[in-house]
Amino acid sequence: MSQQTAALIPGRDEGLQTETACGTPIEDRLLTAEGRLFQSQKELVAAMVVAENSHEELRQMQLQLIDAERMETAGCLGMGVAHEIKNLLAVLGFGIDYLSKSPASADPGIQSTLNIMRDSVKRGMVIVRGLVDFSAPRQLEFKARDINAVIESSLLLSKHEFVANHIVIHRELGQGLPSVELDDYKMSQVFVNVFINAAHAMSHGGRIMLRTYVLPSESAKNFSPAGGARIVAQIDDTGHGIPPDKLEQVFEPFFTTKPPGKGNGLGLSVVRQVVTLHGGRIDIRNREGGGVSVTVTLPERQPEPATACELPCGTGLHELAGPRHSEGVYHP
């Protein structure tokens, strides 16, 4: 055993020395020493497991960081693209309004053409809005909130989807949970997106099971820089699930399996971005009995200063309010 390793095992040297000093029979001393060695080996193994776990945790955090950076770039790109497309949609919209006033628009064929074009402009705007939601710089306003209340208000917002798809909600919401520092508006956006995904996966009816609880403290995921507990919201559905080879992709912007008009593939990208900005994590997996299980894990507290955090990449508009300089303004 190298000197370094020996130094790692507490009490090894001093143990042997004391035994020698006591003058007990050599076999006994050897036995005791062996026992200690065994104990120390066990401690070493345990220490290695801890080290490995922290290493894995570090790796996960690094991956998340890389991801966050990628998202940041995608976000800036998104704002630029949204700006350009809004301009084009504005031209088309004005054009449609203008043509609608021309005498030729009395012709039924031209009328329905103009209507289809107007509809397409509207759909274009829905897509752009999704893109902006995903990319826009937004101050997060953290306030201590009851996670169950956030879930209830998100359920209300998604109600029409549940009614349309005959979906029943089961609640197992934890009582007396610590309140969570979160941005109300953004977090309900998270739950609404997850609920709507579940509803879309159950077009012939089904169940959504909601659970909230405090993460048991021994869990490896229980890492929280600002201290405090971690609170989990689990959303299970009985829908068609996600093909295993697609699981990796669902968080990617614009990944969708839905027909045009039903989904843009931005829902879960926004969801993950918001959860990450809260210092939390989101996991999605297929349930054994079918359907999908989504868990959102949030830290109870935000690191100081717990008031605001901002995404990069400005629109340039804030410049108009104060003294002007053109830095930070997007130029196409």
């Binding site: 350009e84 504005a90 004005f94 340039g316 508009l317 108009l320 303004v329 997007y330």
Partner: protein, 124 residues
Amino acid sequence: MNKKRILIIDDEPGITLMVKLMLEQTGEYEVREENRSTEGLNAAREFKPDLVILDVMMPDLDGGDVAAQLKEDRQLKGTPIVYLTAALLPGEAEANGGMIGGHPAIPKPVSEEVLIAVIQKNLE
């Protein structure tokens, strides 16, 4: 009746042309379009508009700079300005009472109806 003079500065030619066509179709406006903000400033001095429609993000001078320079011009400083911009976030203008930097802001895309309503209101 005297036609109201409108100057529109936007780097997207499709926007300036459509706004010109729409407004002039009503018979109440005379519209001058500019696609570069520096030339837009010169046009303002010469054309003496009753109202300026301004894009925000433009490659040479942004809308805020143009507004500031208009304000510095003795003859133009009282001219009402309306921003017509694709840079607004959902709800951003509403949150500020429809105003950005002290001027009314209209998000792109917008209907002809709303655009004309805002122009009329700010000409009063």
